[in-house]
């Protein structure tokens, strides 16, 4: 433990969050010759493999609300979401010129096509569309996924110029298990005492994990938990809500703060989903690729970017999140033009109706600046929750 205060830790994380030149990752790379950085977009890639190759996995979640998109808009029609245009802006403006590879996970057609655009725009940089199975039987989806991971591993060996052993991967799995445990503790603290660990702070803590080494991030998370637990903060008469739909294009920090100001305690969410994608520990003995594959197939988050084979199970993750955190309602916050989130939303809302969970919905973009309507909507929602629960 470093003994730092909440404000010191949060200030450091906010600095990392706002730094669109990714200085921390650049410094990590420059610290030793031969170091490599692999960028990735939402939602999920097995960072353990990149770590095992001795490289730094670096999350690129678009440009947020501080990036002026000049070139990126020339690549997209008005009806495409913002994250691909700001990501292109990061690329063509040289902000990610130190990155040795870019991964585009299987999430939607826009990010999928961006993988091809990246190949065209940056032909000298390794870029890969990282496909994952949408079928979850071991002998079908599992074998396919293991094959995809092996191909990726082979590429990493070529980039890094060295073999990656099973022991390397096992060690990395252990490191990420530790990180997931720490993040689990952070989410547990926030669910239990949201006044001590507000979502706007937890979000910054999570975002920091995208640009610094995982070992350092685990320490940071634990430092924050210790500092936040020790700090005395007043309890507000807020309502507890689960926030969902933010799994890809991330909300501006002000949006999260606005929800809190309007009377919400956000007790669960789906931002920076990669950090919590795998549920629980991945076994660190035996065949590490098999273990990663099994974790993906059978013990990973539900989100709109994944197919749910069981109709009875569809949307139940939200009901469970509500029950587990004692939430009183759900806020669907979806990025404008986000096919996965917006197509999924009516099904999830029906599930919540069945479970008698109140909800509201709105759309945002990573650069949304006008928060007043969202604050009013969320405030009214909170008021209505209070009225219902009083009745």
């Amino acid at each position: 433990m470093t003994g730092k205060s909440v404000s010191e830790i949060v200030a450091r994380c906010e600095e990392l969050y706002e730094d669109l030149n990714f200085t921390a990752a650049r410094e990590w790379k420059d610290a030793e010759p031969g170091r490599k950085v692999i960028g990735y977009m939402p939602v999920y890639v097995p960072r353990e493999l990149i770590h095992a190759a001795g490289m730094l996995p670096m999350g690129i979640m678009g440009g947020g609300d501080n990036l002026e998109v000049i070139h990126g808009d020339a690549y997209y029609q008005s009806y495409i979401c913002r994250i691909p245009r700001s990501t292109i802006e990061l690329g063509v403006s040289g902000r990610v010129d130190f990155v040795d590879g870019m991964l585009f996970p299987s999430i939607c057609d826009v990010i999928r096509n961006l993988s091809g655009m990246w190949k065209m725009l940056f032909p000298d940089v390794y870029s890969k569309y990282f496909d994952v199975p949408q079928t979850y039987k071991d002998e079908i989806g599992g074998v396919f996924y293991t094959g995809e991971m092996r191909e990726f591993l082979y590429d990493l060996e070529n980039i890094g110029g060295r073999k990656i052993s099973d022991d390397d991967i096992r060690a990395s799995i252990e490191v990420y298990n530790e990180n997931r445990r720490a993040i689990g503790e952070l989410y547990a603290l926030r669910a239990a005492q949201p006044w001590k660990a507000p979502a706007s702070e937890a979000y910054l803590i999570m975002r920091a994990g995208l640009v610094i080494p995982v070992e350092e991030h685990t320490v940071l998370v634990r430092d924050y938990i210790a500092a936040a637990t020790a700090e005395d903060r007043p309890i507000k008469d807020n309502s507890r809500v689960v926030l969902t739909g933010m799994f890809c294009e991330q909300p501006p920090l002000n949006l999260i703060k606005s929800l809190e100001l309007s009377g919400c305690y956000i007790v669960d969410d789906d931002f920076v989903l990669i950090s919590r994608w795998l549920l629980g520990d991945v076994p660190s003995d035996g065949d590490p690729m098999h273990n990663l594959s099994q974790a993906f197939l059978h013990s990973s988050m539900s989100t709109a970017a994944k197919y749910e084979p069981d109709q009875a199970e569809k949307g139940q993750f939200l009901v469970r999140a509500v029950r587990d955190t004692g939430a009183e309602g759900v806020i669907f916050a979806s990025t404008s033009f986000c096919d996965p989130a917006l197509l999924d939303r009516p099904i999830l809302q029906n599930v919540l109706k069945e479970a008698n969970v109140p909800f509201i919905a709105f759309k945002y973009a990573e650069n949304s600046g006008q928060m007043q309507p969202i604050r009013e909507q969320a405030g009214t929602f909170v008021d209505s929750i209070k009225l219902w629960s009083a009745a």
Partner: protein
């Protein structure tokens, strides 16, 4: 069989004999579909790209394609109200209008283009090929129909190649998931020889389709490979691939096109045969269906023929050599799904469009960017610039939607097209180079 231009109803619309034949085939199919409750036929809903019609026929299942239903609703000016109905029920204005047209149609009683109720599907075959929306679409339908849903995932051809891992994955899904569930739903035992027989027939029709589409290389082109192409691809992309009907249709169409070619004639438009071919275009992206004739007219009135299009490859890239292979039935189905246009990477699409412009000696590329379809649309501005750079031919960009009438601005589209044709003229006369 002598091809001829047949006057069809309504009287001001001219159609090729093949178009009439195609329309009859589609009508018969819809009759078969709507009469399924009486005939005890079982129905499988599935998608056009990566559709497994031959496999469905092995189980005597009747194929219902929600995309085609949405197109039919668009052509009949009904999709607008269906979309609004779905939006009123909570579906976002931002998402695919095929989905909303389908959901709205379902909410309004699921009346098909023949005026009869379409039956509820007995099974949803979610062939997930090149379009993420498919995945959500069938989750939405499954919620309503509560019937068995089979998922077949086609990995994306991101690196421009098909790997053994991809093929093995797809074949395993077919063997262990798709076929056993279809057996269960239909009560029909799978017979691989029956599948081989259908695949043989598919390949035969595919040969003729490729021949027809490649006649666009002639000057003048005897076909319009976009607007006319919609008619041509209907049977093979829909419920007829693998049938004798498809073989007959494509042979008939081939003869009809041959006749026009021999006479040096251009394509037949709704207002009669094209006169002079002034512009030869390659078009990328789906068409607009709510104003289909009006849209087409903007081209043929200016003497513009589409000589090749990417949309006619969403149900298979046969012109790049693929044929269904009865000797490798399941592998062949996998390769078919992997190769469809929307499952191809952006660099592959750029290569294709560049090849088309060169091989079909086109004047340029026109992109019809569809609001509903991120699979097609995301990246099209880069495609436009890259194809322009590689070919030196002018490219242009218009925006419409598939079946949402709110996103077809006729004046805007017409203005842009007219400007584009002027640009082509300038390029021809060398003025473009100076600019």
């Amino acid at each position: 069989m002598r091809p001829s231009v047949v006057k069809a109803q309504p009287t001001d619309v001219l159609k090729d004999a093949s178009m009439i034949k195609q329309k009859q085939m589609m009508a018969e199919h819809y009759e078969r579909l709507s009469s399924a409750p009486e005939t005890d036929a079982k129905v499988a809903s599935t998608f056009v790209p990566g559709n497994l019609n031959e496999l469905l026929m092995c189980f005597d299942l009747v194929n219902n394609l929600p995309e085609v239903n949405a197109i039919q609703s668009g052509l009949r000016k009904q999709s607008g109200q269906y979309i609004m109905e779905a939006e009123r029920a909570g579906h976002s204005e931002d998402v695919c209008t095929y989905v909303k047209s389908d959901i709205g149609m379902m909410m309004k009683g699921n009346i098909g283009p023949n005026g009869k109720k379409l039956p509820d599907p007995d099974v949803l075959l979610l062939s997930y090929t090149g379009c993420f929306t498919f995945l959500k679409w069938f989750e939405l339908l499954r919620e309503q129909y509560k019937c068995p849903t089979i998922f077949l995932q086609t990995p994306y051809m991101a690196d421009g190649k098909v790997t053994p891992n991809m093929i093995q994955y797809m074949v395993k899904q077919l063997k262990e998931d798709v076929i056993p569930t279809l057996e269960q739903v239909s009560g029909v035992k799978f017979d691989i020889d029956r599948l081989r027989e259908y695949l043989k027939k598919s390949a035969q029709a595919e040969d003729d389709l490729v021949y027809i589409l490649q006649t666009g290389k002639n000057k003048p082109s005897p076909i319009d490979a976009y607007f006319g192409g919609i008619y041509y691809i209907g049977p093979i992309f829909g419920a007829f691939r693998g049938t004798d009907d498809a073989i007959d249709y494509y042979r008939f169409l081939r003869e009809e096109v041959d006749q026009r070619m021999l006479k040096g004639l251009g394509p037949v438009t709704p207002d009669g045969p094209m006169d002079e071919e002034k512009y030869r275009l390659v078009v990328e992206g789906p068409p607009n269906y709510t104003s289909f004739r009006q849209f087409w007219k903007m081209f043929y009135e200016e003497g513009a023929t589409v000589v090749a299009s990417s949309y006619t490859k969403v149900g298979g890239t046969y012109d790049y050599g693929f044929r269904h292979d009865p000797d490798r039935p399941l592998e062949s189905l996998a390769e078919y799904c992997l190769g469809v246009y929307t499952n191809r990477s952006l660099p592959m699409r750029i290569d294709m469009l560049t090849d088309y412009i060169n091989e079909y000696e086109a004047d340029g590329l026109l992109i019809n960017s569809i609001k509903s379809c991120n699979s097609f649309s995301a990246g099209q501005l880069l495609i436009m610039r890259e194809v322009e750079k590689r070919t030196g031919k002018p490219a242009a960009f218009i925006e419409t939607d598939l079946v949402d009438p709110r996103y077809f601005s006729a004046a805007n589209v017409k203005n842009r097209l007219e400007s584009y044709f002027q640009m082509v003229e300038q390029k021809r006369s060398g003025k473009g180079a100076a600019a």
